[in-house]
Symmetry: C2
């Protein structure tokens, strides 16, 4: 464990995340080429300095190691890196200057008193901030330009001759390296990778392929379950694999009386774990990019699984980049807005004011960037080259859109919440919120339809689900409007269905929020259970029950374009924790939290979920429910009654609605 | 020679210069540490794309090489780098995407029709521009991340035993690598480098030192004339050196009847050549950094020596960096302003409208940055952390300063000139110019003193030379004021003398402009001749005639802190060409130019100077002067008469002032 006084690698705050996300977003491979993400990307600073003052009773020795070139200053006198230096008694200014033209400039100070522990400030010669660091880089022989993966050897489960070659099935998704252990004839082979058997067996069109491979070939890290080697006999080839990952602790558990649901939980955990590394990525085969919309959903899943604050922070810093904004996040306007909202959620989850302090200036710049594209009604509009995504769906996109305004409204709310915590001036955001709220209702709420329309400028008054879902999720409508949205939109089959898993996440979320957990329970079993019926070992980017055979793997016009291990597929973790167990923080960092279980679908259930610095467990056996936590501040809402949840004291409830 | 249809390496325009200048500004070494420059530095983009449309009568093949990862698109279909691709007949869109996490992303296309010649556009996913390239990178086997130096082996002139060791004198300044050719005893030695003998012999304090060197040691590139190896005998060690340089053509020549002046010319050429690489640097031992003030003077010297447009452009792009400005150039407000003025000068020298088109948007951003720190009178002021340099001199720096306003006034002029050429709207600059001009005279011109005062806010009404010199150089004062400045400031011994060679450049320039060439002639012989009397083989950063012995090499509190090869020491080249020969463009690119010789100090003179696409030669023998050019548009001003200078027709003049 690292404590405040342990040395660690230091860098310009935010730069590690920006640098590594650049590498992450450049790591996509498709067929024989690399595919760097198609947007503007920042890099870390090249030239930074670190400073700290020491008042010393006696002289002390220290040494500076660095990634880059530069020098150490003791009271303005310069010294080289790598030497034992002596700092005299008295008041001393220590500075370290380091430049790195090819990677992240970083420093590590070793010494009894003078060392790179908490208390250093960094500067890019413009701004000064507390120095950045990570629990992942605490040893002097590490390099924050490298990622140190844990590894796990994986043997294949099954090997068979087929199509004149050999097919290996590892029985699980691997994100790592394939090793060719034996090639009896010594002749180089072609290695075809597949998330599906169909893909691996398609020598021409499989996404990854290694040509002329031998036992000496170092094959790059790839995502696969199947390996096919054509034109060879089973006895002439042996392979194995090494799975690579950044260890994350699964703090949740879930076992119910429904084996299918348990399997859905397990595969969700597997899927989400695979897509969680230094950052939340969308999928392990494709794109391996950091998308703000996908990440936004991952924050919610993380909250109920790993409760890993660092991966949230790394992902948010990575997405945001350096101060200046040149383009919307991933080019998408709504993804910029979701990023802002995600910061508020992270704060509610963690009560991490230090991080808020770090990120708030970048929130302000982001909000200014957004406000610069609002009109006199306060409505945000798309500019040339802006991508107004919302969803892949038929939507009336003429003029300003309701869904974007709903998002922006929530983002103003996030600015007000986060700014207030830091005692910043937020009245301008409140005024913008008030104006937008009024105009949103005036222009987009249709009383007759009992719903938000997509666009008022087109005159079509077309209703889709998206804006209405967001309005429910973000608490922007009153109970009457909520009910109206449920009836007139969410449960109205005449409104175009949501088809993407991305937006299905939000839709299930809204349905649960409006009390439709029983309905969502069935959807989980149907939709996610449907993938399992197709032998899924991880959840897919998209699942259409009507598709069969090779069609299941096609997406974006590519026969194997679909990612079969996609983070957003893991949403049952969130839905089960958030709504069925009903766990939610009601004050930042779970200083107060509520458990409001909806357990009618379960005969028995044994589960636990993480909270900030604690755990909540829930066990249901027959009619009895026992809820326990090791943190103060909880209460249970059960059948319109409120029960205090006392730390370390199990609360016994009866499904017949009285505490025992 | 490269022509429009030759392939070349392409990059995002400006990025090569920004990337290489980062490497340049990180190359400083002092004693045992590296010293990256102490300001914010940009890097090149990491992720870029290139695009071009081709209408083809028949299919054609091409291949893409790249520095970085990515792919080629033919009509939106992706292909790997390094393969021969076929583009079909018809209208085609070719795009190349390349990302590079460690250096400059660059591409090279080879093919009969589809190739990386003139006509490609580059994009950083935000802006689109004509792709950048350089005549230095035309071959596919080059890498624009490397600098390819020409080399010249240099043998030492003299070897002697001294101080118990061996001293080698190469007799000239070398900027390159020392080779230890023989070490008879094989034992590692210490190698001490010196620009001066005194420095080399100071084992402890010499600027560069190689510890434990053997014949196998690869010693990094350094600047030196002397090498001292202590504790060894002459017969036990042999060394040689390899000088490294980027070839630049010296297009000027100068031979007069005064051998000392000829030597001053030659040593100026040597000095300036050494300090001219990819960029104009200040000095070869120290700092090796690109300073805008130093570069500004180098542009003028270059104009009369190499007439190398590319090094000007590279230096200006390097100094300016990416679009966003976070800090003044080299942290110095006046250096930002001089950069703007330098662009106008480059335009006048070259008539290069393409470059103006490229750089003008960055001029606008720079001017906006400057204007954001002007007050209601239009005066620019320093903000916290801004360095208002002007010069190392005693100056009343309270409040806004005259010198900065004079510079800013000229910079508005530059915006108006450059903007007008590009048919941009410049009325706001004209209005700012008019306001500042009026207020400059109202607040800073002191009629009684007949000069500009430093500061009006302090009430001291102190006069230094600086603002007055700039006002003369930039034509901001009328003839009466010019005369007043000459009498009351420049020739007034009670006004604090200029002590830095940096500002002496401007002072000599102004004196010559005001007709004081005879005085400047003597100064050149005294000051530069003085350095030669001290055995200088290059001109120094600073020369104080009163200093002797080791004191001559001290600067900034460091016994060998003074650079003995400093670009601005080469100013005689400019002064001789600009004022004694009197050559100056009067329309952009020397479409019109004037030769206005001042030859009274010469009995005989034979010289030539470059102009845009041409040359001017001047020969004086006794009473006869012959002036020749190979370009249209010249005229000679001689004794208040004007003579047309007809292309290829030598103009004969008599010092008795009538043409023969």
């Amino acid at each position: 464990m690292i404590n405040e006084n342990s040395s660690r690698w230091l860098w310009y705050s935010g730069d590690f995340e920006i640098r590594q996300s650049l590498l992450q977003n450049f790591s996509r491979e498709e067929r024989a080429y690399d595919w760097p993400a198609y947007w503007y990307m920042d890099d870390c600073h090249r030239n930074v300095k670190f400073k700290r003052y020491y008042d010393l009773a006696e002289p002390t020795e220290f040494k500076v190691d660095a990634k880059g070139v530069g020098y150490v200053e003791i009271n303005d006198q310069k010294f080289p890196f790598g030497q034992t230096l002596t700092c005299p008694a008295g008041h001393n200014k220590i500075r370290v200057f380091v430049g790195n033209t090819e990677g992240l400039p970083a420093v590590y100070l070793t010494g009894e008193i003078i060392k790179s522990d908490i208390g250093w400030v960094c500067s890019n010669f413009i701004e000064e901030h507390p120095a950045g660091w990570s629990t992942l880089y605490t040893k002097v022989d590490q390099d924050p330009n490298q990622v140190y993966h844990a590894t796990e050897p994986v043997a294949y489960l099954n090997k068979k001759e087929i199509q004149g070659g050999v097919l290996f099935d590892f029985g699980r998704a691997i994100f790592g390296k394939l090793l060719i252990k034996e090639l009896r004839e010594g002749k180089p082979v072609t290695v075809c990778f597949g998330e599906s058997e169909t893909e691996a067996l398609d020598e021409e069109m499989c996404y990854y392929k290694e040509i002329s491979a031998t036992t000496a070939t170092s094959i790059r890290k790839r995502a696969f379950r199947y390996i096919f080697i054509p034109r060879i006999k089973a006895e002439d080839v042996e392979v194995s694999a090494v799975h690579e990952f950044i260890p994350l602790e699964n703090k949740a558990a879930f076992r119910s009386d429904n084996p299918l649901l348990n399997q859905i939980w397990d595969v969700s955990v597997e899927t989400f774990t695979l897509c969680s590394g230094l950052f939340f990525i969308d999928g392990i085969k494709r794109d391996r990019w950091i998308w703000s919309g996908d990440a936004y959903q991952s924050y919610f899943i993380n909250q109920y699984l790993f409760f890993d604050e660092d991966i949230n922070k790394r992902t948010m810093l990575a997405l945001r980049g350096q101060n200046e904004i040149k383009q919307h996040m991933n080019t998408i306007v709504d993804y910029s807005i979701l990023w802002l909202i995600g910061v508020e959620n992270h704060y509610m989850m963690t009560n991490d004011v230090d991080f808020l302090q770090q990120i708030y200036p970048k929130m302000v710049i982001m909000m200014t960037y957004l406000q610069n594209q609002t009109n006199e009604l306060g409505f945000i509009y798309g500019r040339e080259k802006d991508w107004i995504f919302i969803d892949w769906s038929e939507m009336d996109k003429e003029g300003t859109l309701a869904a974007e305004q709903v998002l922006l409204l929530k983002a103003y709310h996030s600015m007000i919440v986060c700014g207030s915590i830091l005692q910043k001036e937020t009245t301008a955001y409140q005024a913008a919120y008030d104006q937008l709220y009024k105009n949103l209702l005036d222009y987009f709420w249709d009383d007759e339809k009992g719903a938000f329309i997509d666009s008022y400028e087109s005159g079509k008054r077309h209703v889709t689900r998206h804006a209405n879902i967001f309005a429910v999720l973000f608490d922007l409508v009153n109970p009457k409007q909520q009910h109206s949205i449920l009836e007139n939109v969410l449960l109205n089959d005449e409104i175009t269905q949501i088809t993407t898993p991305y937006f299905k996440f939000f839709e299930q979320d809204a349905l649960c929020k409006l009390g439709e957990t029983a309905r969502v329970y069935e959807i989980i079993l149907d939709y996610w259970g449907g993938m399992l019926a197709h032998d899924a070992v991880t959840f897919w980017e998209e699942y259409k029950p009507e598709e069969t055979g090779a069609d299941r793997y096609e997406m974006y016009g590519d026969p194997f374009g679909k990612s079969l291990c996609h983070a957003w597929g893991a949403s049952p973790i969130y839905l089960l924790g958030r709504y069925f167990v009903g766990l939610v923080p009601t004050a930042p960092g779970y200083e107060n939290f509520v458990v409001e279980p909806k357990l009618n679908n379960f005969d028995s259930l044994s589960c636990q979920f993480p909270i900030k610095d604690g755990l909540v467990t829930l066990n249901k056996t027959g009619d009895e429910v026992i809820i326990w936590t090791n943190k103060e501040g909880g209460e249970v809402h059960f059948n319109q009654q409120v029960f205090p949840l006392v730390k370390d004291e199990p609360l016994h409830l009866s499904m017949s609605l009285q505490p025992v």
